[in-house]
Symmetry: C2
Subunit: 186 residues, 2 copies
């Protein structure tokens, strides 16, 4: 049976990876503050003390998780309905992107706050602002920040337990409504 080692008890690369994955999921689901290193260790099936060994601290693990998903979340143009749909669907599967939380609430840890803030701008705000600039709109930066904040509000709202229909709504139904939601003829 199994020529390979079914029991690999010492495998730092694997442990590191398990911790990073579990951390990414939990940070996405609950945010930085409400995720404990014990939770992460439990989900990963790895001793939480190893977080200190491999990443230095909970904060640095957060930063690492942020960078690890860089590939997952390419700089997204929120004005593209298809992209927006992808974002919502991803949030349904894996929880909201960790950095979404920072758009809406200060983190307790300044280093984590800075890292998340930077990621938020790089991946969401800046691409949008650049598009507005190209379109020649006034106040492109402000427009981009408003839109990101609004979309993040909706994305988090879906998982906050405070909205029933929003939680149940299909992303396909959501996107068109969201795009028109804030405009009405008086």
């Amino acid at each position: 049976m199994s020529g390979g080692t079914q029991r690999r008890r010492h495998d730092s690369a694997r442990s590191r990876e398990l911790l990073l994955t579990a951390a990414g999921e939990l940070f996405a689901e609950r945010g930085f503050d409400r995720t404990t290193i014990r939770d992460i260790g439990e989900r990963a099936g790895v001793d939480p003390a190893l977080i200190a060994r491999y990443f230095g601290s909970k904060t640095l693990l957060y930063v690492a998780a942020l960078e690890a998903e860089r590939g997952d979340v390419p700089p997204a143009d929120l004005l593209d309905p298809e992209r927006m749909r992808e974002i919502f669907e991803r949030a349904d599967r894996r929880g909201p992107v960790p950095l979404a939380q920072v758009a809406v609430q200060r983190l307790s840890d300044p280093a984590a706050q800075d890292a998340a803030r930077a990621a938020l701008h790089t991946r969401l705000v800046d691409p949008l602002r650049d598009r507005f600039v190209r379109e020649g709109l006034d106040r492109p930066q402000l427009r981009a920040e408003i839109m990101v904040a609004a979309v993040v509000g909706v994305m988090l709202g879906r998982h906050s337990g405070a909205f029933d229909e929003l939680t149940r709504a299909d992303p396909d139904a959501l996107v068109p409504l969201l795009r028109g939601a804030l405009t009405t003829e008086d």
Copy 2:
């Protein structure tokens, strides 16, 4: 009519009031979970142990703070630009309404979560839904929930430290942009 009570060391009504005010401010600024009863006591200049005496627990104090500001935040029609401006200005002065946080993040305490959720619907979601119903729009409930979530996102985003221009922007400049933000001609 006590002419000169300059020193009132025993005044339960006053202590109660001070605690309630401080709690309302802090819950609004930081949310339920990240506000401690020691913080509240410090800001109020009152011993935190009195929270237990007058309100029973931190959770019940939160519920009391929610109800105390009912007058402050009349059911607001977010489609009225003037109302929207008022909401943003109030948030600048006293911090976002405490119940805003629940739109975006689960609270650790189920009782607090339920109370905030109920208040959120009564004051923001339901009036908006009713208006959409009157206008004969489809999916009125979903539309209302989306819009509340989006506005809350922007309101919290202003104070999260993650957006510079959004933080500095004047409410007067904000409202029109927000109303049109999610719509663009492709």
